[in-house]
């Protein structure tokens, strides 16, 4: 394409540009030869834009839009495009309309699966199916035969313009309060804690050790929130040293778990896994199932990031199991939520919805407003993926309202981000920008530079 219309500064956008280039190259290279390709794109507006770009470049590309009534995709496409013509490529869109996510089996995919020979004999050009991520998952599992023929996959996703409302990692110690200080308050708090730690440790006074450990942990958490991961790590290492000296394995286990989360954020997944495993092992030895449950949950998040969804699911289920046995409703809600996110990634949207609803039910019962807000947010993201934008907006607004009521800026910022994404899909660019700017400013205010960068990427991409 190379029209140079946009200033591209951000990684994900760059990757999408190169995917587009690859797709265009494929169209050229395979001219006159049949092939199956899949182009994954979650955002209808982005898809529309990409198709326009490609079609203007090469007018002989035919786009067939599937409607709700189609049962036999091949027959439908055949009726639209005759056998011999000058088509350089066939793009098939709208397949998600006939793949409702709440159904287990999709006849239409079974039918499609049986037609692969027909395509090849009828067309001698590339056939590209455009679909969102979840549909691709269904495709790959329910039309396996055709899938095995797919020679190219182009991903215009990865950095979805939607901040998932809330994974639930478990940072040991109840420091959510610290996370919700604004950036100025965080800086003050850092100074205060540093002073306290200095006062308490020069020389180290016995009676202050339990407090010192709490302060080190909180300080580490605040550093973690504002993205100063080295400082965060340093604090945890000091805490571990003290716990070790005092022979407090439980404390060490807790801190190892937290260290794992820091590595996770840095993307050092192997190291993170190692820490969570170390923590898990100690908790296991001490016979502390609650600690074990937390680390299973955290391990699940690592596997999810790695894309090892089955393993991740297994971990969250283990965590859920323990929480269930202990009757820890809060832990159960967390893991239902995490499982929901896994199912969503797999494209099993109705299962994901079910999980988030379960989490919501528990959180409602406990009156755990923050949890409810996260659940509403996650449900909103699911509806958005399904294209049910009004329903999605309704959920996201509910989430936003609770976060506002609780005065939790992080949650608010995430919802602004998600709402912006809804407006973008509706094509309301002005509103999308407005919300994303709100999200960006709020993330900046509470000192979360990674999130700021992400949202800036979306704004640039408009």
């Amino acid at each position: 394409m190379g029209k140079g219309k946009k200033s591209i500064r951000f990684e994900h956008t760059e990757r999408q540009i190169s995917e587009l280039a690859a797709l265009q190259k494929m169209l050229k290279v395979s001219e006159g030869t049949f092939s199956f390709s899949i182009a994954i794109c979650n955002s209808p507006s982005l898809q529309k834009y990409l198709l326009e770009e490609i079609v203007t470049e090469s007018e002989a590309v035919e786009v067939v839009e599937i409607n709700e009534k189609v049962e036999y995709i091949f027959d439908f496409v055949s009726s639209k495009i005759p056998q011999k013509n000058h088509t350089t490529a066939i793009f098939i869109t709208g397949i998600e309309r006939i793949l409702p996510s709440d159904k287990k089996e999709h006849g239409v995919l079974r039918n499609l699966n049986a037609t692969r020979e027909l395509w090849k004999s009828r067309y001698s050009c590339p056939v590209v199916f455009w679909m969102p991520e979840y549909a691709a998952t269904l495709f790959s599992t329910q039309a396996r035969d055709i899938w095995s023929w797919v020679s190219h996959i182009f991903e215009f996703v990865s950095e979805e313009a939607t901040a998932i409302a809330g994974t639930r990692d478990i940072y040991a110690g109840d420091i959510t309060g610290a996370g919700n200080l604004n950036v100025v308050q965080k800086r003050f708090r850092i100074a205060e804690l540093e002073q306290r730690i200095k006062d308490a440790s020069e020389p180290l006074k016995d009676e202050l050790v339990p407090h010192l450990l709490v302060w080190l942990n909180e300080l580490s958490y605040i550093y973690y929130c504002i993205g100063e991961l080295d400082a965060a790590e340093q604090m945890l290492r000091r805490a571990i040293e003290i716990e070790e000296k005092l022979g407090r394995p439980e404390g060490m286990a807790k801190q190892y778990g937290n260290l794992g989360l820091i590595y996770q954020t840095r993307g050092e997944l192997d190291k993170a896994e190692q820490m969570h495993r170390k923590s898990l092992e100690i908790f296991e030895k001490l016979g502390l199932p609650e600690g074990m449950a937390k680390q299973y949950g955290n391990l699940g998040l690592i596997y999810k990031t790695r894309g090892e969804l089955d393993k991740a699911e297994q971990m969250h289920k283990k965590s859920l199991d323990i929480a269930e046995k202990l009757g820890r409703l809060e832990g159960m809600a967390n893991q239902y939520g995490n499982l929901g996110l896994i199912y969503k990634t797999r494209g099993e949207l109705s299962k994901a919805e079910q999980m988030h609803r379960k989490a919501l039910e528990i959180d409602e019962r406990l009156g755990r407003l923050e949890g409810m807000a996260i659940d509403y947010g996650n449900l909103g993201v699911i509806y958005k993926t399904r294209g049910e934008l009004d329903k999605a907006e309704q959920m996201l607004r509910k989430a936003l309202e609770i976060f506002e009521k609780l005065g939790l800026p992080e949650g608010m910022a995430k919802q602004y981000g998600n709402l912006g994404a809804i407006y973008e899909e509706r094509g309301d660019i002005k509103k999308a920008r407005e919300y994303w700017v709100k999200a960006r400013d709020l993330f900046a205010k509470i000192g979360m530079p990674n999130e700021v960068k992400k949202v800036e990427g979306w704004i640039e991409g408009i």
Binding site: D174, G177, R196, E370
Partner: protein, 425 residues
């Protein structure tokens, strides 16, 4: 004839309230006649020797001298080479003993720590994360109350006042706090952390909070938990009660220490058996007089008479002191109460008839309280001096201990006796 002024003085000196800081001269060490040897020492040493915050319990009959012992603990910890700063937290100032749950206790404890720091050390502790937490309760207190500008103790006082005043508001506050209990504990520990650091700079070894008053909470059934309110707090809420990052001593209802929940409580709080302040032994299980016990209680009365500056014979007729002690069943507070009532009821010196008329009133009160099913247990205790508890009669046993119809003595071995003022059955 004693003057009206003198009479007032005597009345004042027989105050059943636990001895306060300036009244050490009235303290009589009853350890040896209670069989509770070294209770104060045990409680203080555990705090002095432990590297980590401790959480201890102390149970005892109403009026057995629990609060007085706790005051002694406080005095001991505040002196010596390694001084502790102590907060004697009378939770009943802040909560309704008929209906207690953990959030109320948390608010009471933190409020009283802040108040004591303010008053005694002139230190204003910062609200820290409580400021964030106010938001969760905004709705409960109504729009007019703005908490943002308030100091920590004043802010919390708003809640404790609300908690005490209305069951509805209490319920709402709890509902709002419950899901965030861990955050509230974190906020409390943030305040405690700052406090301990400040104390350390002033040369204190640490912070001790003595929570008195939870022994008075109700043995009523908890509306949902399927046990008494007291059991719910001490058993189900153990993780929270022990979560504060400072040394704690909780006074606990005696009935709980002698209920079926006793094993659970012992395990939860790390005891072989929760420490108990038993009654002073004035007779043994066979009904023989225990002279040492009599003498100790006698000196308790005499020290107070001395303080009032009156002679024994001006207040008691011959032999009446012994009778008062007998009627008290070895309960120090009951003893003081009996004297006080006698002063009001008849002329001084107090004679047998005055005492008998008071005793009769107490007997009537018991007669009104006791039901047929209680009597089965009372008769058995009268006969065997042991309290045979099972899951079924546990609530009844708790009621009997709670109402002091049955008294627990320790001495050589633990045994139970029937309150001497119980009606004959």
């Amino acid at each position: 004839m004693l003057s009206q002024e003198k009479l007032k003085e005597i009345y004042r000196v027989f105050d059943p309230e636990p001895l306060s800081a300036g009244e050490e001269s009235l303290y009589v060490d009853l350890d040896s006649v209670r069989g509770s040897s070294g209770l104060v020492r045990e409680l203080t040493q555990k705090i002095r020797l432990s590297a980590n915050p401790t959480c201890q319990l102390l149970a005892g009959h109403r009026g057995s001298g629990k609060s007085t012992e706790l005051r002694q603990v406080q005095k001991k910890l505040e002196s010596g080479n390694e001084k502790f700063f102590s907060v004697f937290c009378e939770v009943n100032q802040d909560l309704d003993p008929n209906d207690v749950d953990f959030p109320d206790v948390l608010i009471a404890i933190v409020r009283q720590i802040a108040e004591r720091f303010h008053k005694k050390l002139k230190i204003k502790l910062k609200p820290g994360y409580f400021k964030q937490r106010w938001g969760e309760l905004k709705g409960v207190l109504g729009a007019k109350v703005t908490l943002e500008q308030l100091e920590l103790d004043a802010g919390l006082a708003k809640f404790s006042a609300a908690i005490k005043s209305s069951p509805n508001i209490r319920e709402e506050i709890r509902k709002a706090l419950e899901p965030h209990t861990n955050n509230w504990i974190y906020a409390a520990n943030e305040v405690i952390g700052e406090a301990v650091l400040r104390l350390s700079k002033k040369g204190y070894k640490g912070l001790v909070v003595i929570v008195d008053g939870l022994d008075k909470i109700s043995l009523r059934q908890h509306p949902t938990a399927g046990c008494t309110v007291a059991e719910y707090l001490f058993v189900n809420r153990c993780a929270q009660l022990t979560a504060f990052n400072c040394h704690l001593i909780y006074a606990m209802p005696l009935a709980l220490a002698y209920s079926c929940a006793e094993r659970t409580i012992a395990n939860l709080y790390g005891y072989t058996a929760p420490p108990v302040v038993p009654m002073t032994k004035i007779i043994d299980a066979e009904g023989n007089r225990h002279q040492e016990g009599f003498d100790k209680l006698k000196s308790l009365i005499e020290m107070r008479l001395n303080k009032a500056g009156v002679k024994k014979e001006d207040v008691f007729k011959e032999g009446v002191i012994d009778k008062v002690i007998e009627c008290s069943g070895g309960q120090p507070r009951e003893l003081i109460n009996l004297v006080r009532e006698s002063i009001v009821e008849g002329e001084l010196p107090i004679g047998t008839s005055t005492l008998e008329s008071i005793a009769r009133k107490i007997t009537h009160a018991y007669a009104r309280q006791l039901r047929e099913e209680h009597w089965k247990i009372i008769d058995q205790v009268r006969r065997d001096h042991i309290l045979k508890r099972d899951k079924e009669n546990d609530p009844l046993c708790m009621e009997l201990l709670d109402s002091r119809a049955i008294l627990q003595y320790k001495n050589e071995k633990e045994w139970y006796g029937v309150n001497p003022l119980l009606p004959k059955h």
